[in-house]
Each structure stands twice: as C-alpha cells, then as structure tokens.
Amino acid sequence: MVTELGHFALILAFLTALAQAVIPLVGAHKRWPGWMAVAEPAATLQFVLTSIAFLSLTWAFVTSDFSLRLVTLNSHTDKPLLYKITGVWGNHEGSMLLWVLIVTLFGGAVAWFGANLPPSLRARVLSVQAMIGVAFLAFILFTSNPFLRMGSPPFNGQDLNPLLQDPGLAFHPPFLYLGYVGLSMTFSFAVAALIEGRVDAAWGRWVRPYTLASWIFLTIGIGLGSWWAYYELGWGGFWFWDPVENASFMPWLIAAALLHSAIVVEKRESLKSWTILLAIIAFGFSMVGAFITRSGVLTSVHAFATDPERGVFLLAILAVFMIGALTLFAARANVMQARGVFGMASRESALVLNNILLAVSCFVVFIGTIWPLVAEMVFDRKLTVGAPFFNAAFTPFMVLLGLALPVGAMMSWKRATLKPILRKLTPVFVLALAIGALAWAMQTGRSALGPVGLFLAAWLIGGAMVDIWSRTGRGAGRIARLIRLPRADWGKALAHGGLGITMAGIAAITAWEAEDIRVMQTGETLEIAGYALRLDDVTREEGPNYRATVADFTLSRDGREIATMHPEKRVYPVAQMPTTEAALNNGFLRDIYVVIGDPQNSGGWAVRTYYKPLANWIWGGAIIMALGGALSLSDRRYRVAAGARKTPQAAQTAGEVPAE
C-alpha cells in the first residue's frame, strides 16, 4: 500500500514537473504574472511528492518488505537499522531517486528563498530546473523503477554489499549528490539568464550560494569516499584515479573554477560569458559522472552494449541539455558585454589564471578518463590509462596553482602593484623554502615530491595567514579587527590554507610511507619506522550479520605502550563476501595501519603494516576547505535568503524593471 502510494506520488511529481517546465516559461515570455506564479507552488509540490516517494521506499527498506524487488536484492532482516536506511541509496534505482529528490529540493530552495529574484528570472530558473526534474523522473519511471514488485516474494533478502555497510560509504553518496545536483541549480540560473539575455552583478550574487554549497558538498563527499577507501580497502590507498572517482573530481574542479569566476562577475561585471559557459559545463560534468557510473561504459564497452537502455537514456539527457544550453549560449553570448577594465596585474587576471589551471586540469582528467574508450573506438588500441598518467599529467597543474595562489589571492581589483605583495610574502616564501630544503636533506634518494609538496603546503598556509593579517590594516587593534573581519575573508583564508594542508598530506604519504609485509606468530614483534608492534592473540568473533577473525596487537615506542590495535577480517555469509577491517592508530603526524591477512600453512598469520606520515592531513585539509566554504556561505552579505525577509513590495518594484 505504502509502496503504491510512493509510486503514484512519483508519477504525480513527474506530471507536476512537466507543468512547471512549461507554464512559467511561457508566462515569463508573455509577461503573464499568473502563469509565472505557478512555478513556486509547483516546485514545492514537486518536492513534497518526491519526498513521499522517497520516504515510502525508505519505509519498505526499514520494514524489510521483500515483495519489492529492490529490497530483496539489497537488504536483509539481520542488517542493522542504519544500513537498512542507507541501503535505500546503496543501489542504482534508489540512488537515482535520491538524485531527483535533491533536484526538487534545490528547486524548492529557489521557490522558498528566492523572493529577491526578479519574478521572470525566478520563473525561468524554476522552469529549467523542472526540465531537469522531468528528464530524471522519466529516467526513473521508464528505466529504473524502484517500486517494482516481485511475483513471489522470498523469505529474506540478498543483503547489501558488505563494503557499503560502513558509515564512511553510507553517507558518501548523499553528499556527492548534493554537490552534483547543486550544480544543476547554477545550470538553471545560467540558462535562465541566457533566455533573459541579462547577466549582471546581481546574477553573480544569486548564483554564488548554490555554487558554493555544491562545492562544499562535493568536497565533503569526495573526502568521505577517499577516507573510506583509506581505511577499508586494506592497503591505505586514498585515491586511485578510478573513472568513478574522476567522475566526482571533475565537477569539483569546475565548481572551484566557477566559484572564483562568479566572484569576478559579481564584483567587476567581467568574465560573464565565460562564467555562464562554466556553469553549463559544470552540470555537464555532473551528468557525465552519472553516465559513467550508471552505464558501466568505462568498465567495459561490452557491458554497456548488452544492457544499453539506461546508458543511452542518460546519454540522451546529457546530449539534450548540453546541446540545448550551448546552442543558446552561442546565440546569446554576444549580448553579454564585458564591462570592467583592469590591468594585467590585478585580481581579475589572477582569477583568470586560476580558471585556466582548474579548467585545463579538469580537461586532463577528462581526457585521461575517456581515452581508453577513444583509443578503442578510433585507433583500435586496447589500452589502460592508470594512476601513473594522472600523477604525471595532473600534478604539474596543482603545483602551478599552489605557486600562484598566495600572490594572486592578495592582489587588488582593477590594478595591483606586485611589489608590496611580494614584500609581505617574502618571509613566508623563505620559510617554506627552508621547510622544503630540510625535507630534502633529511630524505635520501627519494622522489622530489615530498619536499616540493611540503614547500607548497607551507607557502599556501603561510600565504593564507599573511593574506588575512594584511586585511586588518595598520596600527593598534589589529587583533580586534582580525576577529571582526567578514566571514567571507575568513572563509577564503581557511579554504586556501586547507588546500595547503591537503597537499602536505598527499605529498608526505606518497613520498615517505613505509610498509612491512610478513608472516607473524603470536607473541612475535615487528619494527616499523621506530615503532614496535606485537601480535598478542588471534580470536574468532560473531557479529550481527558476519563472522570475524580479530587480532590483538600492542603498539609501543621506546618500550612504552601506546595503544592496542584490533584489525579484523570479516566474512558476510549472506553476501558471500569477505572484507578487511584495518586497525588504525591515528596521530597528528602519522598513522600506524595494521591489516591481518590469512592464516599461513606454516602457522602464523600474514600481517601488513604501514607507517603513513601526515595521513590525516589529507582529510583534515578537506574538512577545513569545506569549513571555509561554509563560513563564506554564512557571510550575511551572501546569505541565500538575504532580502527574502524584506517587504515583498521592494522585490516587486525591482522585478518590474523590464528585462533587456
């Protein structure tokens, strides 16, 4: 019953989206206020209906309703409640439903908080957003319906993939989707502005919260995924340049570029057409990501060919939206005249450089990701593009970005003089150089990545500090002024510093990781990077839906015990799958990472131990970056609802200014 209700609500949501896509658009064109006003209640209704559908699916999972095909395939009565809920999006159909729910949530946000938008723009934005809703709701209803029933329901389900039964991965998709789909909002704003034929500073300001929010969510989502891979996969890798990872990384890079170029539109009314283009491309990459992960095209062309229905549908959605938006862009781009005049050395130029580096690095990731496909189809070469390519081709862009960032961030708008900036940054540069040199001297015959990474990190973190300190002016009371600085300033400093911290972590773990693989008997001790690790015991335990082999290790340094560690090997009998649960001893400067392997024929156990310097800095930096974004988002000058509380009359008068 609940299931049918959800199914019905989803169909109604589809019809609502259809209406919302057409009526406000016509209304905005003909200037009929009544038609334009349809957009807001429709957006709310669409969100409510999709929520009902999502909740009823969740209900089916929580109550283990195995008459639903999806629940049977992905759940089990023994599964903990948390994973019954997260299991809703731990599969294709449910995750697409979550995707659409977020599309309607963002549409709703514009309806609820967009009172300060001119009515025609708001109607058009909501109409474009509804078109996206129509496309994906149709995708769900026609190719991936989560509400399909089974003829003869089984007594129990087939369980969720045990690797997904983990907090890190359980919350990784919702964050990523919030990010991906948040970019649909900037896309809608861009297309609406093109239809409207008007892009101005106000547009830049309206788009900013959505771009920033998507970027924050993508940062958290990617960070969670990488952290999960680190502790779960059993060798402490944190990034694999896997196509599905790249699918989430490309929108992140473009969102970061968009974030910066929108500032130029907002403050200086320049880079308008470029920003619109970025907003279109950003959502394009989100959909490319959906296509890559959902169609299986990159896993194998043959897998795609045998079940092409979903892939072709997604490809069609991608093509329609991109071709449509880019055609509109080509037709209208000349309307957007650049206004601002600025010198070669200026904040504007620095942000242009930022955009080039981010956009081209994204392009490199893109071409590396699709190259195997291109090579097979065009050149008939079956080849692989793996981590070594990306490390070699992508890293230089990040080095350049890191080098230029502190200088660019301190430049003033219009015309900047470099000398005072360089003077302020000299101490940081010298310090960073010294740190890099020290690292170089302490290591022998290793890659240059470690020292270069630490140099860049110190340069970025120090640069961010100097930047924010220099904003406090001169004379007494600088500390007080520092605290009172706008949140956007603090956000900028934190985000840039966070990038430095992440770079330090990546460089250190890549350059100075230590590894030990051996067979250990109970009672034996191994040494790694100055730490001693003793295997005390190995026992078997029963979990709620798995069986585990648990080892007890004692970690000590200089004869002093630091911690006990318990790595596990689990077997999930229903899913017939083993997982490794590594034991980590987290520290500020290093992680000790232990994995227990199989029992050996000769007695004893295979044990793998890693010393991972600055490992936590990778995710710490990501958290700080996201925090910086959140601070910036909460700056009252940029609040989404700014002006929403104002008298609606003010918005009304502004709205009557004819659109050009």
Binding site: L163, F240, V244, E348, V352, F389, I517, V519, A606, G643
Partner: protein, 150 residues
Amino acid sequence: MKRLILMLCLIAAPVMAVQPDEMLDDPALEERAREISEGLRCLVCRNESIDESNADLASDMRLLVRERLVAGDSNAEVVDFITDRYGEYVLLNPTKSGSNLLLWLAGPVMLGAGLLMAGVYLRGRAKAPEEKVTRLSDAEEDRLRDILKD
C-alpha cells in the same frame, strides 16, 4: 555505491595484495619487483595495479614478474615480457607513442591555448577605454538601498 565494480575484484579471491610467501629474499630484487608491479594492471580488475590487487590472476602475474627478475631480466625486459603476452592493456602508464601522443600532449597544448587566449583577452581589457558609468534607475537605487540596509 560508486566503487561497486572496483569491489567486485575483491570477491574474486579472499587474499590480499602482495603475500609474504610471494616476496623475494633479496630486498633489492624485491624492491624492483614492487616498482614494476605498480605499473602493471590487474587484467580482471578496474584500474588496479597487480601490486594492489587481490585477484588470483594478479598473484600469478606478481610471481611471473619475480620469476623473470630472478632469471636476470632488467626492469624494461620484464615489462616487455609481460606486454608481449598480455598486450598494451596491462600498462597503467600509457606509452608515449603513436596516437597516445594526443593524450599526453592534450594537457600542455590546452594550457598553452588557454594562456594565449587569456593573454589576448586581458590585453584587451587593459586597453579598453573606461566606460561611462550608467546611472541606476530610481527603482534600482531604492532596491540597492534596501539590499545594503539588510
């Protein structure tokens, strides 16, 4: 969810990456073996090197690499030996030859083009005559005051 397919590799065999019994006694040779295996793809996996992979096939390939090293091959000879048998597909680092040059050069060329275009654009901006500031309409002035008050 996203990594589901990557994960399928793990189902293949419940063993882990490099095993203690696979490792060579000579640390220098073992080091070279690790270095080589990091650049070779596990054929049944998704973008995983044989060094990381848990699949049986990866284990066989690791042993093969070590066999060749013990037999006295140089690193390049080992890689050639493997590539002859399994094809270009095993190389995680695509060769810098033939059509692959497009792949390798795409980034630098795009960067050059981007910088060139930006240079032209910035030069244009720097030389553009300062525009007359268009006055705001009364309604816009009102609205601006309203926003600034907030």
